[in-house]
Symmetry: C2
């Protein structure tokens, strides 16, 4: 059941991925994780909004480095979403991201109503979510900037709180009511949080909003004039090719600011609906137990775990074996290149580990051994002096760019599917158990023209094996192509 | 300084490798581990005994599955040790192993004196060890079965204790004395162990012995007549080729029994020297801290570990990253295919994990992803349906058997060194960055004729990829070769 013909959903998918390390990475944030089994958080979010709007009215706000992975995960809705990615050159917190999405919506529909929601939250009751969106849409039509307030269940000090004016009722529907917001409170101390919990007058700020795109832009103009100016500049050039390169320049000058701090707290139009669905922002490993099923011993267990006598712990393995004995309220997370072990109570310090790794330049903070590309993915199986071994996966119909490397040769052995290989001037098929070698300085291309996924093992040899030793001559996905003199 | 012209060392290297899992495996026991940095335990043991006997009088007692790895690790003394491996067809506890070694020594030297010592203990003071062996040798010459007693430093319930008769002195030298043994006590309960510790009259049984080979065989004959009969049968056929196949049959019928329980406790010739060197059997992960250096926070740290605020813990990484936060008295051990997390106090339960894995048929209890062979080693980088990827390392001068596979093809890419490849009737060199394919049913061989180590990446394709799909036509290391009809 769709709610309103001008209602659009904007899924905020630019998260930074530090708090669920090592499962999340800077280039592979929490929204892309399958942390409760089944679908990933962004896939769950997509299904949730599809109860409110059709897929062609869903927009994804993200950054260039994450867009490929998201397109891959939302492949089921590929056609509807093709032109619905609002890509920021870099993340500048939520106010610029929301303003950019609003600007794009207004270009398409001056009456657009925006449901803005993070890609990486868990909401359990879809019907109640839908009811809240329904009321939110009504209030948005009336000009309010609506946020969803969550009834606190613990004295959380990590969230922002909202105090609505419960004596004033802006509207009601399906058992829910809307109220004007009396004030916002940033992360309180423990005593204050306990008082808020007891009072019943304070709600957690969920980060889910509904408003008319025009209304939020009016408030941006009022409270963040520089941001509004930048958006007008962008809007004037939206259809032009000249925008592409200059958008990054404009963006670099924007002040990073959150929509709460920069607009909502300053606006007289802010409203809140106390919602009644179960919600979690799954903010760190210890909050996983709010949403994932526990076994009899209170453990959340995933993957290849052999355990003796542990309780109340999060035991997260993948394909490698993790053996645990007698743990109590611990977090153990194992990935192909990194393992985390800490007490649940220290989960919030995982971001400190990520900071250390960042300073060290350790690749384990940045990305996984498996990296997604528009044509498929690759997994680094091993690297050592002078060589690197990858498993490369190419989706049906996918093809890598026509490219060459200056410093490395490559050997490909097909282990599943059939490849079409371009090597120099030759084009030929490569089947399971067949191989070919690509010398350095030789133009080559790998394609999957079949209907099954293609898997190859690639062995690279050379003194330098960085991903940046690549010259692209043609690319289906618009990635930087070298202009070469053509014979006339 | 060598101690006696008839003194031989027998290093007992048949350990089962359950208690240091996942670093140790059934086929890769503790003695092969570099658990304190520097050399492995068996290498340290070798250096220790070389202060007492020359290398050609060192013997290694082990089983067939471990012999290759041991030969590899003791490669420095390869020539001296070539004929000094006493290989039991299967492990039957220490009495048969010692009896077999004694039988072999007697064949070579009827006056042989045996120093028997486990390959996987840590002893810190070489000079005091040497002094103890010197006195032990004297007492052995006088006909005693000598064991080294360790002064207890904690009420350990996991060891056997020895009560010597301290009023009788069998001899003395270099500040040490020997005494007859009054009694052996198997693992005591905690209260008894505490009483022993306090009394000063009880010593830990170190498992290190010295005796004349003839003397121990006399006592075996007295207390384990079936074992003695088997050894006489073996001795009578020692030089004959017929022994090989039948040794396994003889062995299978032997009762597994320890030398302590089966012989020493029953013998009237047992003597003990209270020794004064620092000793550890490094019996499980928590005992590692007795021998490995700790940092200021009391942690034993190895490999790629990033830690925040942990103390008194054992943090053992290898090449993968391990991040730990706020651990206290924990053990974290990470290997390429398995990770262990447990409190130190539960270290002894690691063997229960290994039992579970064994029952499940999980490969992680049996061997590492890296497996040693007489010609080098291989590491499984990845396996999946229809394919397996290995890095194969061939030592200079090493070559694999001339072989074929019925069910798989192989591709080799050289990443370091130069290979000599036999493929069908062709023999050719393969250099870095070059590759070749070996179809199934094709005879092939990989050799390293160069002076540097050869590394290749091998990609296998086929419906069945087990190590047992191999037909060997020639093998340098005497492994099962198929007899094939030759053209006359």
């Amino acid at each position: 059941m769709k709610l309103h013909t001008h209602l659009y959903a904007v899924i905020m998918a630019g998260g930074s991925g530090t708090r669920f390390w090592p499962l999340s990475r800077q280039l592979y944030p929490k929204q892309l994780l399958r942390i409760m089994g089944g679908e990933t958080l962004i896939q769950q979010t997509m299904r949730r909004v599809l109860r409110c709007v059709p897929s062609k009215r869903v927009f994804i706000s993200t950054t260039p480095v994450q867009a490929d992975s998201i397109r891959f995960q939302l492949g089921e809705w590929k056609d509807a979403l093709t032109d619905n990615f609002v890509i920021e050159p870099e993340a500048r917190n939520t106010a610029p991201a929301i303003a950019l999405a609003a600007t794009e919506l207004l270009r398409r529909d001056p009456y657009a109503i925006m449901l803005v929601l993070p890609a990486d939250h868990v909401i359990k009751d879809h019907a109640r979510f839908q009811a809240a969106v329904r009321l939110g849409t009504e209030l948005a039509c009336a000009g309010h900037l609506v946020t969803f307030g969550i009834k606190p269940i613990r004295p959380e000090t990590g969230y922002g709180y909202i105090q609505p004016n419960l004596r004033v009722r802006l509207g009601g529907k399906g058992g829910l009511k809307g109220h004007p917001i009396a004030r916002f409170v940033e992360k309180p101390d423990a005593a204050t949080a306990a008082r808020y919990l007891k009072s019943g007058n304070y709600f957690w700020n969920s980060g889910i909003f509904i408003w008319r795109a025009r209304a939020i832009m009016e408030e941006v103009a009022r409270h963040q004039p520089a941001l509004a100016r930048a958006m007008r500049w962008i809007a004037a050039r939206a259809a032009s090719r000249a925008l592409e390169g200059r958008l990054a320049q404009v963006y670099r000058r924007l002040t990073p600011v959150s929509i709460d701090n920069g607009v909502m707290e300053r606006s007289s139009r802010a409203a809140m609906i106390p919602v009644d669905f179960s919600w979690s922002d799954v903010g760190n490993w210890s909050s996983l137990e709010e949403v994932a099923p526990r076994n009899d011993a209170g453990n959340v267990v995933s993957g290849k775990v052999v355990d003796l006598d542990s309780r109340d712990s999060i035991l997260y393995a993948d394909q490698r074996l993790v053996a645990t004995i007698g743990l109590s309220s611990m977090v153990v997370v194992d990935t192909p290149d990194a393992t985390l072990v800490c007490p649940k109570a220290r989960s919030q310090d995982v971001k400190k580990i990520v900071e250390i790794l960042k300073k060290q330049g350790a690749p384990e903070h940045l990305e996984h051994r498996t990296v997604f590309r528009p044509w498929g993915s690759y997994t680094v199986l091993e690297e050592g002096p002078g060589y690197k071994v990858k498993r490369v996966t190419v989706n049906p119909g996918g093809r890598l760019s026509l490219q060459l490397h200056h410093q490395r040769s490559e050997h490909w052995v097909v282990i599943a599917g059939t490849a079409r290989v371009t090597r120099g001037r030759r084009v030929f098929a490569l089947r399971v158990g067949e191989s070919t070698g690509i010398p350095k300085e030789t133009r080559h291309r790998l394609e999957n023209t079949g209907s099954h996924t293609l898997h190859i093992i690639e062995v690279q040899n050379g003194p330098y094996l960085g991903e940046d030793d690549i010259v692209r001559f043609q690319d289906d996905y618009g990635r930087g192509v070298k202009r070469v003199a053509r014979r006339s």
